[in-house]
Symmetry: C2
Subunit: 369 residues, 2 copies
């Protein structure tokens, strides 16, 4: 292990570049495909590769396995490593239990070897979709160059394609320059999820980006901001770094706060690179159906599905389930089938699947949660 | 076998009473639960007993296994006998392939032992539902007594509970008397499935009954009518009776005609006993959902199903499929799940399931038909 660490430290380029993939989430929005022990990042929603694998595939030409760290929970680590055989098990930052993004990111950055902490770190969720990976990498590269040049914190902000009410927004400020023809702007304000009218205004104005939760910074800079802005959290993280045997005991005591609230929204100066790459956070079955290929009647089908005189449905049939999933004469539904469950809901209400899970839980059906 | 036949013929009461259960149908309306080799009569739609078994259960206090004959196809006979272990294998009348009701009934009646042909025969479909079996038996008993008394053909006609357009109707004629307080009326006319307005008129008038396809007659009388009204069919049946080895060759050449068109509608004098017993022919998933118990929101659930904020759906989950079938926020749907298929359709269109089957056939999916 010492030797491996030495060899790793030898080949770290100067300046170091590291990506931390956040794979500790526990969403239930893709029930019945997602379960407690099989959250969204582990699902193959569009074919063979899981969202986690696609996230790593997308980074690889720019940041490959030797420079990739996985932040996840103790429970989910084995599956994450199984899906990413190219990533060494040492390159994981483990949370004893899922907290929020500030503890996860702070702890993952602090867990990096010192020379990587001094270098540039990219932090990104493991469960997003990108239609155009080269465009994604161009924006990411520009953000990395900006951080190298100016020691700024930079976030990638998605150019809105509609008036979404489910995302937070970044309000664009002054130009900060740019790199290789990619714009770099100051973020003048972080905006919480807006109502319909505000979202329409933001979309029309061209002055807002979607907050995608993708950040680039020098590791040491992030830790310095954390120490200044959230000293209790920073102290907890330092205590764990000093006594790794006490992580299981200390981690659950860390403040549960998002990286946005803890740091990003409170920075005087933060940059953003506009990202126009067919990004989606795939927040629901309906969001997935938007990005899948459609038949002429607007039905998106994954797996063994058949639609007759039906329009704009998502038919998702897990390969583990035998035989066809057939819809006749219905519209705008989500029909999902796994080996051990079926879900039928209107697309417009597919984000309410947690109500169903609450009902299943109340009936003692943890076997299917 | 000769001894068994002799013992059977010894214990036939005089006058003999025989029921022929028509179990050769090949409907596809309950796909995906029904399949080519598992038609509706073999399904347990309401619990443990299949429709065929329930038909026999319902008759038993009046006509039990020793007096029961099963008319079915060569392909379906094994399953029919498996479901009815109390019925001896000799008591089957086999069709080499399904034709129509006139050949099936004519051949089954002709196949009965001679003393049973001279007696009273009840013919009834194996795939109907009756909510009130004692009421059914009272009407049937009255019909049997009428046939014994007058050598009439008598049909049981269902008192309409709504303006159904999916059934044929019987127009009531003069009183013919009655037995034990049950009315016996002449049928003045057989009426094809009406349009909506006519159905409403029939329903309001009180002068019409639904044609349920349940008939009572002396076997010899039916064969005599058949000889007079459909001589080609009657000759074919006699040829098969003379040369049982040629049934496979001759049967497919019989005219494919319903017993209504061949005989019943052409009889000068035919009686009917009104039947008010919660009868349904269960012609579709929607018809089934009408008769199943409902939750307060009108959802009928069979098997492992769960409905949240959903109204008037049928959720039918075959015990062979694992885990829950969950609906959220939908209305008036049929959601059916078996181990190897799922169907989602509006209740109002559940009778169009054959369109889906045509599409599956055209895609080469006979594995699920």
């Amino acid at each position: 292990v010492a030797e491996a660490a030495a060899s790793r430290s030898r080949r770290v380029p100067s300046p170091a570049l590291t990506a931390i993939v956040l794979a500790g989430g526990s969403g239930t929005r893709f029930w019945p495909l997602s379960r407690r022990h099989r959250p969204k990042q582990f699902l193959a929603l569009e074919g063979e590769r899981t969202l986690l694998q696609s996230t790593v595939d997308r980074l690889s030409p720019l940041i490959a396995a030797p420079d990739l760290w996985i932040s996840t929970t103790v429970d989910l680590a084995a599956e994450a490593l199984r899906q990413l055989p190219e990533v060494p098990a040492e390159q994981t930052a483990l949370e004893p239990a899922g907290r929020n993004t500030a503890p996860a990111i702070g702890w993952a950055v602090r867990s990096l070897p010192a020379e990587r902490r001094r270098g540039v770190v990219v932090v990104l969720p493991a469960d997003h979709r990108v239609a155009d990976p080269p465009a994604f990498r161009r924006a990411l590269e520009a953000a990395i160059e900006a951080v190298r040049a100016e020691d700024l914190v930079v976030t990638l902000g998605v150019v809105p394609r509609w008036a979404e009410t489910g995302y937070g927004y970044l309000k664009l400020g002054a130009e900060l320059g740019g790199h290789r023809g990619v714009e770099l702007r100051r973020v003048s304000r972080f905006v919480e999820k807006p109502d319909r009218k505000a979202a329409q205004r933001y979309h029309r104005s061209g002055a807002y980006l979607w907050n995608a939760g993708i950040f680039v910074f020098r590791g040491a800079t992030l830790l310095r901001h954390l120490k200044r802005l959230e000293p209790a959290l920073a102290q907890g993280i330092e205590a764990m770094a000093r006594e790794p045997g006490r992580v299981g005991e200390l981690y659950p005591g860390l403040p549960s706060i998002s990286i946005d609230h803890a740091v990003m929204e409170r920075l005087r100066r933060i940059g953003t690179v506009p990202l126009d790459c067919g990004w989606s956070d795939l927040g629901s079955w309906a969001a997935l159906s938007e990005v899948l290929p459609h038949d002429p009647a607007g039905n998106a089908t994954m797996g063994d599905g058949i639609a007759v005189d039906a329009e704009r449905n998502l038919i998702f049939s897990d390969p583990a389930s035998a035989g066809p999933t057939a819809v006749l004469g219905v519209r705008d539904l989500v029909v999902v089938r796994t080996a051990d469950a079926v879900l039928v809901a209107p697309k417009a209400r597919s984000q309410e699947v947690r109500r169903l899970l609450a009902e299943l839980e109340s009936r003692g059906r943890r076997d299917v949660l």
